[in-house]
């Protein structure tokens, strides 16, 4: 037993040394052992050297790997010794050993958690895992001693439970991710780029679901359940004049009538401070939800951007590895469809050819002036287009305002704005594409330009729309003042008259439908956004149906009786327009963000839209699109999309913030009616519901004297962080340059060596012929003498063996005559040819200086 203890101690000290940072060589030798063992386990064929290399790499990159190696080795030792020893001498473990053991257990645990990162065979992983687990199992209990024991055991148990819970939770989470198989199917047919759109769509759906939950749970449901019921007050009632047509479909379709006076829109909400038995502060909740919609979106977008940026490390110098990346990363392993694979092969071939051509004539500049002129021309044209479309929208919105004042206008007049915007969105991008053909950019750069232009178009349209809407709102505000007086007087008059008529009884209240009311600009804005969203949905779906599905059907079936091949020729099948679709999605989201404050139901509509478009587009893409010929890169563009989304988020935050901060809310509708500004709801809450000192603190904090320094501080912090990151970048670039230089240097050295090598060879060549010419005649002479010498009984054997000193060189000849004593020992069968004395000379060329010298020896 003592011996065993000694052993275990020895082992401990050994492992201590292993871990001691100073003793590198110890470690490496241990590692090698472990690796060799690993190699053996993997099967003899697996070359250990390679593994060593990989392990080396691992050691450089993550230290964990090293620890794992160490432990693995110790583990193996343990498994031999510990089985009997440790169970028995638990009692005799000293503090130090305990610590050691603890550390070991920790390392084992780490190994277990990083097991999946090891490039080992599953069999090995499983066995190592089992050993490690057994080890942990065994020693965990032994670690805690005395009073700490129970706590330790408890902690371990909790940790185990926690791991299990986490795993179950992860399992649950992956089960909850929807459309995995659908996306996979699309991915295998169209490659990762098209799938990236659907993943983006899914992400968007998740985000909107959260927004939807926020708005529905905190605003709409409380108001519907606890607020005043429909018809109890003017803002919740359809006015008398509209009541006759309020249920007509055409009216509802325009979101007028009953829909306008429903919880979907801002105007429906009451300005009562608290509602229901919960004393729910609805106006406050409305305001906070409106803000947190933006806050949450910002957080999510920025977080996923940061994660994407983390994942794509070091994308800096693209020019260093053009061909290598093409070679090793261009095949998309996700492709599982022969047609896509064909396209991919073709596109890889073209891209190789393109880069070869680029490489061969990297600096050819034919007529740079013409190209410059064309590019300027194209940009001018596109700017004209953008301005034109902006003006068109402004014009149309203005006109629609005059239409809205007129009665009984046609369907077209009512929907003119949406139609024009959709048409512009449909026809401008192809127009831009045509113009961009003038510019002759590299396709990737061209795509960026194209995206930027479409983005500018959409943005311009949106903002023109907003400006026109602002005009509208201002008009409404002016109108409101007038109405306010009328309402006031009407109510006053009503009560006065009722007082006059019957002075005892309380007057019957005026029917809410009859109260004159203001225009409620918030609801108008909300309705505009909802309309825009709905028409956008319809246009998208119809475009897909007509542009993709009908076209595909036409091409497919009319092809049987047509003059030319429709499938290969002009119309052919449509490709999936990734960038257009993503931009559409991004802009749609921008409208949702902008509109959700004035139309809380808008997010619900958007959730429905995303849900249907997931299924619809999946179906459309699988049924009627063909894979791209030119595959748009997916991975890096992801952050590009996110950047667009962030920009849109910011831009949609601006108008909402403006209206909240500087426009007076309507006097008779919405949760903020009666206040001068919407944000006053916060001040009110603080003053009424919080103790006095909070209000005081708040008033101090809101003081410009504090806010301006805070902003200044933030600006300074940004400046500082920016400077730091720039410095890092510079250092990075410097290091990169250094590495490049080192590489060049090494290459040069290598080249020099390579150039000296031939020289040396030449020298040797110069030298060897002389030795050859010296040695060969001698050999011949040797042979002669030898063969003549050996006319003894051994001679025959010798003769037979002579040429084949080794069977390989047998052909080259007898020049390789081994030393004399070999003749005897050599088995005679090896020789094939008889040693003709004359034969060696013409075949003597491969003779190096060494055998020559060797042969020369007996002569000297």
């Amino acid at each position: 037993k003592d011996k065993e203890e000694d052993e275990s101690k020895e082992e401990d000290t050994c492992s201590q040394q292993n871990r001691a940072p100073g003793k590198k060589n110890y470690q490496s030798s241990d590692e090698k052992k472990a690796e060799e063992e690993g190699g053996q386990q993997r099967g003899k064929k697996a070359p250990t050297k390679e593994q060593k290399e990989s392990e080396n790499k691992e050691r450089k990159t993550n230290k964990k790997g090293k620890e794992g190696e160490n432990k693995q080795k110790q583990d193996r030792k343990n498994s031999t010794t510990s089985a009997s020893s440790n169970s028995s001498d638990e009692e005799s473990l000293s503090e130090e050993e305990l610590e050691m053991l603890m550390e070991e257990v920790e390392q084992k645990k780490k190994l277990i958690s990083t097991m999946r990162n090891k490039p080992w065979r599953m069999v090995k992983k499983l066995s190592v895992l089992r050993e490690a687990q057994a080890f942990v199992e065994k020693f965990e209990g032994a670690l805690g001693k005395g009073k700490g024991k129970k706590l330790y055991a408890y902690k371990m148990m909790m940790a185990k439970k926690w791991v299990k819970f986490k795993r179950d939770f992860d399992n649950f989470k992956t089960q909850c991710i929807p459309w995995e198989m659908k996306i996979k199917e699309v991915e295998s047919h169209f490659g990762s780029s098209v799938a990236s759109y659907f993943i983006f769509l899914r992400w968007m759906y998740g985000m909107n679901l959260v927004l939807f939950g926020l708005i529905f749970g905190l605003v709409i449901i409380p108001e519907v359940l606890m607020g005043m019921p429909y018809g109890s007050m003017p803002r919740k009632t359809v006015p008398r004049a509209e009541q006759a047509t309020a249920m007509d479909f055409s009216v509802l379709w325009d979101f007028e009538g009953y829909i306008k006076y429903s919880a979907l829109f801002y105007g429906y909400y009451n300005n009562q401070r608290t509602i229901g038995w919960l004393k729910y502060r609805l106006p406050m909740a409305y305001f906070m939800v409106g803000i947190s919609v933006f806050g949450y979106s910002l957080m999510v977008v920025i977080r996923s951007m940061a994660r994407n940026a983390n994942e794509s490390t070091a994308d800096g110098d693209d020019d260093n590895f053009i061909f290598s990346w093409k070679m090793f990363t261009s095949w998309d392993y996700l492709i599982g469809n022969p047609e896509t694979a064909d396209n991919k092969f073709a596109s890889i071939t073209t891209s190789f050819k393109e880069s070869i051509v680029d490489e061969q004539e990297s600096n050819k500049d034919e007529n740079i002036h013409l190209r410059r002129f064309l590019r300027v021309l194209a940009n001018v044209l596109i700017i004209c287009c953008l301005c034109g479309s902006g003006y068109l929208i402004y014009f149309v919105v203005k006109r629609s305002q005059t239409f809205s004042k007129m009665q009984n206008v046609g369907w077209y007049e009512r929907n003119e704005v949406e139609i024009v915007m959709s048409l512009l969105g449909m026809f401008c991008p192809p127009l831009f594409e045509t113009i961009a053909a003038l510019e002759n950019y590299h396709p990737r750069i061209g795509l960026k330009w194209q995206l930027g232009r479409i983005f500018a178009l959409f943005l311009g349209n949106l903002y023109t729309f907003l400006l026109a809407l602002m005009d509208d709102v201002n008009e409404k505000l002016a109108e409101e003042d007038a109405v306010k007086n009328i309402t006031h007087w009407t109510l006053l008059g009503h009560y006065n008259s009722s007082v006059e008529n019957s002075s005892i009884a309380t007057p019957p209240p005026l029917d809410p439908a009859d109260v004159p009311r203001g225009p409620c600009w918030e609801t108008t804005v909300g309705i505009e956004f909802v309309r825009l969203t709905v028409s956008d949905i319809l246009v998208t779906f119809i475009t897909i149906l007509v542009g993709d599905f009908i076209r595909a059907c036409f091409v497919r079936f009319v092809n049987y009786c047509w003059c030319w091949d429709l499938e290969a020729g002009f119309p052919s099948y449509a490709e999936f327009d990734i960038s257009g679709n993503v931009l559409g999605l991004v802009f749609n989201q921008g409208m949702i963000w902008m509109g959700s404050f004035y139309a809380p139901g808008l997010v619900g509509i958007n959730v429905l839209r995303l849900l249907t478009s997931m299924y619809f587009q999946c179906w459309a893409v699988m049924s009627s699109n063909v894979p791209h010929e030119r595959v748009f890169k997916a991975s890096k563009s992801n952050n590009f999309y996110m950047g667009l989304l962030l920009l849109i988020l910011f831009l949609s935050l601006l108008p909402v913030a403006y209206t909240i901060m500087s426009l007076p809310p309507s006097f008779d509708c919405g949760p903020f009616s009666g206040k001068k500004r919407m944000y006053e709801v916060i001040q009110e809450t603080i003053e009424l519901d919080f103790p006095l000192f909070v209000a005081k603190i708040f008033s101090y904090v809101a003081n410009p004297g504090l806010i301006i320094p805070a902003i200044l501080l933030m600006v300074l912090a940004i400046y500082y962080l920016n400077a730091v990151s720039e410095a890092y970048q510079r250092a990075n670039a410097e290091l990169k340059k250094k590495m490049q230089m080192q590489r060049e240097e090494e290459k040069n050295k290598r080249n020099n060596k390579a150039s000296t090598n031939p020289m040396l060879e030449d020298l040797e060549d110069l030298l060897t012929p002389s030795t050859k010419s010296e040695s060969q005649p001698k050999q011949a002479e040797d042979k002669k003498t030898e063969s003549s010498n050996r006319s003894s009984p051994v001679g025959k054997r010798g003769k037979a063996a002579a040429p084949g000193g080794s069977p390989m060189t047998g052909g080259r000849g007898a020049a390789f005559t081994p030393p004399p004593h070999m003749f005897v020992t050599q088995p005679p069968t090896l020789g094939v040819r008889a040693p003709y004395p004359g034969q060696p000379r013409p075949r003597g060329y491969p003779l190096g200086p060494v055998p020559g010298r060797g042969r020369g020896q007996p002569f000297y």
Binding site: G43, N117, K633
Partner: protein
């Protein structure tokens, strides 16, 4: 979760989850995929670890692999003895490495092995030529192939031995923007 399964024991499933990047459901799904390849060969009970091996012809005919120009190499690299025949363990290993969750280093290591056609621990010029020809279906002329291979070696060969070692390869591939997204099979 209610659905009881008897293919694996709980311990086996846990071990597999520790050794791969898959969750329980995915492991069972992979088992189903594996079994679908040859229902008559693969038993429905893996608790006593039957030594079943599926031939390469079956593995290579999976829809995920059948259009991949490197399918044979993938199967060879992940199979126990390098002939492309796979046990369930190998199968899980393969898709674990090719899953989305696998870290870059692990992927790079196996990618290197896949592109190292002659198993000599270096990607030499003949390996590169094979890769190019597989990628382009022999549509480049020999001169072009030669040029491309030279360029690749020129770009990526840090230690200038005329072939790419694992370090060279990792150094190059870690900077590639598309590597993670393309070296990936969703199952």
């Amino acid at each position: 979760m209610g659905n009881k399964q008897t293919i694996f024991t709980q311990a086996q499933l846990d071990a597999y989850q520790d050794c791969t990047f898959f969750t329980r459901k995915e492991i069972l799904r992979l088992f189903d995929r594996y079994r679908d390849l040859a229902p008559q060969l693969v038993p429905l009970d893996y608790t006593d670890k039957p030594a079943v091996t599926l031939p390469y012809e079956l593995i290579g005919s999976m829809p995920e692999l059948k259009d991949n120009p490197f399918r044979q190499r993938i199967a060879e690299v992940f199979s126990e003895n390098g002939d492309g025949n796979m046990t369930l363990d190998d199968f899980l290993d393969m898709f674990s490495v090719l899953s989305e969750m696998a870290p870059r280093d692990l992927k790079a290591y196996y990618a290197f092995k896949i592109y190292d056609f002659n198993n000599d621990d270096y990607i030499c010029k003949s390996d590169l030529e094979k890769t190019v020809n597989k990628l382009t279906r022999n549509e480049l002329t020999p001169e072009e192939v030669n040029l491309v291979c030279d360029k690749v070696i020129y770009e990526a060969d840090v230690d200038n031995d005329g072939k790419l070692s694992l370090e060279d390869f990792q150094h190059m591939i870690i900077r590639a923007p598309d590597f993670l997204s393309t070296f990936h099979i969703r199952i």
